[in-house]
Amino acid sequence: MQVKIDTRPLVIVIAARWWRFPVFMLMGYALYYFYSQAPPEGLSVQGFRALIVFLACLVLWVTRLLPLAVTGLFAMVAPPLLGVMPAKDAFAFFGSEPVFFIMGVFILATALLKSGLSARLALHLLKSGSKSPKRLVLHIMLTSALLSFVMSEHAVAAMMFPLVVIISKRLNLTPQGGSYGRILFLAMAWGCVIGGIATMLGGARVALAVGLLHEAGGGTITFAEWTRAMLPIVVVLFVFCYFLLTRFFSIDIQNVAEADSAIEEQIRDLGRPLMEEKFLGLLMIGAIAGWVFFGMQLGMASISILAVVLLFMFRVVEWKDLQEKMEWGVILMYGGAIAISSILNSTGAGLWFTKQFVLPHLNSPWTLMLALSFLSILLAEAMSPSAVVAIVVPIGMSVAKQFGLDPKVVIYAVASASGLAYALPMSTPPVALAYSSGYLKMKEVLFPASLMAVVSWLTLLLTARFWWPLLGIHVGG
């Protein structure tokens, strides 16, 4: 880090640094005002207050006035403070299974990064890609997508980014000169985004959505069920994305052989696979098999935590590594999201809100499906996918109940759509990283990204219409 002195006029500096305080004061006043009001007809006092907390969390998650994790903590402490429920009940939501599943998955991803196994896999997947410019694009996309099947897309992007930077430098690509560099960074980012929805490991939003479903008494979705439901979407989007990147942007380079030598050098630098890497590879295969075949019986969290215990038994990672590299805040955010969603459900606030404000505008399960998926894709461009899930899923499940619709449909729709953000740097870390390379200009990305979003939405709807019924998932209507 280096220091920078902000030399703007002090009034502007103060406004830029402290604008949150008046906003917090305003929010505090609004909370107090609503708290002191009588609840609307048909809503209990507890339900009314739960709704106030939810709306406050919604504002905080959307605006990021507080870090997502801190809003998660607020969501846990506010209900007991406002008398919605006893503290021990509110905090008990933090102990739900999905929270521990997410924790285990994150620890495994950290181990993959730390051991160098993920980088080795990426380099070997990229290795044969340097025969032609188009093939290199395909390999970068494929590597990013495949790795996002088994680890968080954020971690994959963080690992792939330096490799793509090295390749770009070896090819003498510059942010100003030509569009091939732009294609490579978009291939990395969008590859991660598309691959990230394939399994429950690509992003923790799926586990969070499944957790919300479970807490609302809607059953669960297994690892295999999720993957089966998503595969057609992933395949179609992958193919479309490849053609869009290689047709929309001109490929202004003839030879990418230099990329090959860069990848070879990186592989040479890694040396032979270490014992830890081999063990970790086996462990990951075992864990995925466990989630697929025994997820229902043993529980997803049990398998992921068992894998973590084995990691430590064989000393693949040290606790110190986790302290430094893990996104612990995400766990807190999920605990809070599950808590507030469950409270909305148990107090009847979600149902009341849905009846009053959502149902009058929807006339069939399909309009719900259209609205939820569209809203999720739209919100995901500006918000963290997990925040989108935390906000949209509770409402969506309440509406689904009214239509007699299986709430799992809501989970499939929202958890996948909220991962499909392509355009804005604040949407997902892979896209943000691609922008940070300096090769992307928003005005040049906006149109192809919008095309990707529209095609993603249509593909999701078509999959729901034709593929999901084959798996026993019926949207109805």
Binding site: M1, Q2, K4
Partner: protein, 385 residues
Amino acid sequence: MTNIALLKLQLLYHGIRAGQNLPAPLANPFGLVHLVLPEGLSVSVHLNENGAESPFTLRMEGTQFLLDIAGSAPVSVQWTAPLRSYHQKTSSGVLVSDILTVHGDFIAVHPTHACRFGESGLSCRYCGSSRDISQHPPFTPRDLVEAIQILEQEKRCDVVCLSSGRVDTPDGGVERLEKWVTELRKHLDVLIALDLVPPESNEWIDKTYAIGVDALYYDSDFFNPNDEPRKDFEKHKSRQLEALEYAARIFPTGAVLSHLVIGFEPLEETRASIDLLIDRGVVPVLAYFPPYGGSNLRSKWTATPEDTQQIYAHLYERLVRTRINPHWVQQYDVVLTSLEGRFFSNESPRYHLRLKNFYETRAGRALRFGMARLRRHLRVREVPA
């Protein structure tokens, strides 16, 4: 009636002779007698340094101190007893006077004992390095903190100024002083000034402000007429001016200062240098340090107190017009400050005097210190390298 500012310059130029009935010790360990002239002007003046030639004699009549001036009526002055703290020691046994020098509420420290002026072989009236530098024992940041704490029991001090001494490194000396600044910030509620040379890149200026420095004295060697001209003089001068200008944007208004030594160059050049600095937001501190009698530089000295009046008036008027805060010039007993230049001008100093008086109150001090901290808190940001 005597012009008080002119009297101060004359005292700095001639020194004083000791008359009758004076208390002992009269001078501090650095040989300076501290007097307060009418209108509250402080001056630290050398005792008999110019032999019998000084037209000023200090004497005591009853409880009153009088300054006899050859050919004029005596002037009533106040005498301030030398600080007892100078003779105390820190827990590691270092004498406080070996660590710091006090000028009013301003503490001057040379942690490395390498005063740039003192290195020339001349006595430095400002920092106390006038004594043989090799005689100073080394001291640590902890000693400095203790010395200031000892001093604070006797008198209030607002600003500590640390000098880097001569440096040739790209940072201009800030790295050398960082640990001292950190230790002071950790233990004391004071404003910190650094006396450095302009660094080679502006990042060092950012860092200087970020580590907790409130004011800067950048001594630009291109003003020094005694140096051999450098081959890259123009480039060097341009970089130093750029650094000064940049620092003036980073630090609070008036908190970047630069010494200009009067007397070794024609006064018109000094006037041009004043304009050069003020145009860049830098406050010139006119150092009126006449070489002592017997020094080979005494003959090269061309600025009599009477000659320099217009220069001080010019400095004061330029500062007032450009609205640069003149309150950071604190070593007001060994130089004539820009604000004291008002005695040579017709422009009203009312606003600045009120502010100066306010800063001397408990509330003013708290506000000044608080604003300095708040400003840093707001303006300093950490960004990825």
